[in-house]
Amino acid sequence: MLRILLVLVMALALGAGLSVSAGMLPLRPGWLGVAVMIAAAAATRRRWLLLADAAPGSPERALWIGFAGTAVVAAHLLAVMVQVGPNLVMHTPEIHALGIDNWTLVAGALIAYWIARDPEPRSDERDVVIAVAGLRAAHHGLLLILALQILALGFVRDGWIGAMSHPSIAHALILAVMASMLIDHGVRLHLYARDAADAAAA
């Protein structure tokens, strides 16, 4: 569980840090993020090769990469939204640049997945059972987040929430979906980790 939280915090910090550092770097934050994700994926792939039989299985590898990549992209998007403010207007040069950064990070996450994936993927019914548990948790999490968003949008007239533009609300919904993906991946990784810990203790 500690490892899952550590990866989550580091990925969130990277995504938010990239957003905050826009304009302070000699290159676009999106490209820096891609470089970090590719380096992390290459290091992870090397570590899993060294672990051989003790390395996680194909579905768990995909989850680790998806979990970290989604957290980076989500944190970047959230930080951008906070920086821009509630009245986000589409199709301005500034928003386009931030959007390109975010989509560059999405591309980086896909490249990282390709680098660290199991070259001979195998999964079975146990992975399906674990996936069902993750999807169930993600479904409940998404319903909770959407309920909170609906209530906030419906009843909070003042401040940040009351001033949200339609594009801001749309991006908040995208974040809700990404949060549910993080719940799914986090729960599944937790189940795999618990199973591995039980196996080691036996």
């Binding site: 299985g57 768990e60 195998r122 146990r126 795999y192 039980d198």
Partner: protein, 80 residues
Amino acid sequence: MMTRAPAGPSPVGNHLRRLRFEHGEMSQDALARRVGITRQTIVAIEGGRYAPSLELAMRLAHVFGRGVDDVFFWIDPPVA
């Protein structure tokens, strides 16, 4: 047999480990490849943390030329 999340001990025991060793010390990975599953699932089944589906149980038993009842057994049978 009921497929269950790996959340605790399974009520179904098995002789997989013994059968592997009786069949030329077959590795967990070799058995997993024979039936098309992951090594981690063999580890979970042998450790009693995962009860396979009936189909998988039959495939595992078939590898050793046995019936399902020869490989899997109730640890604590439910009262009928």
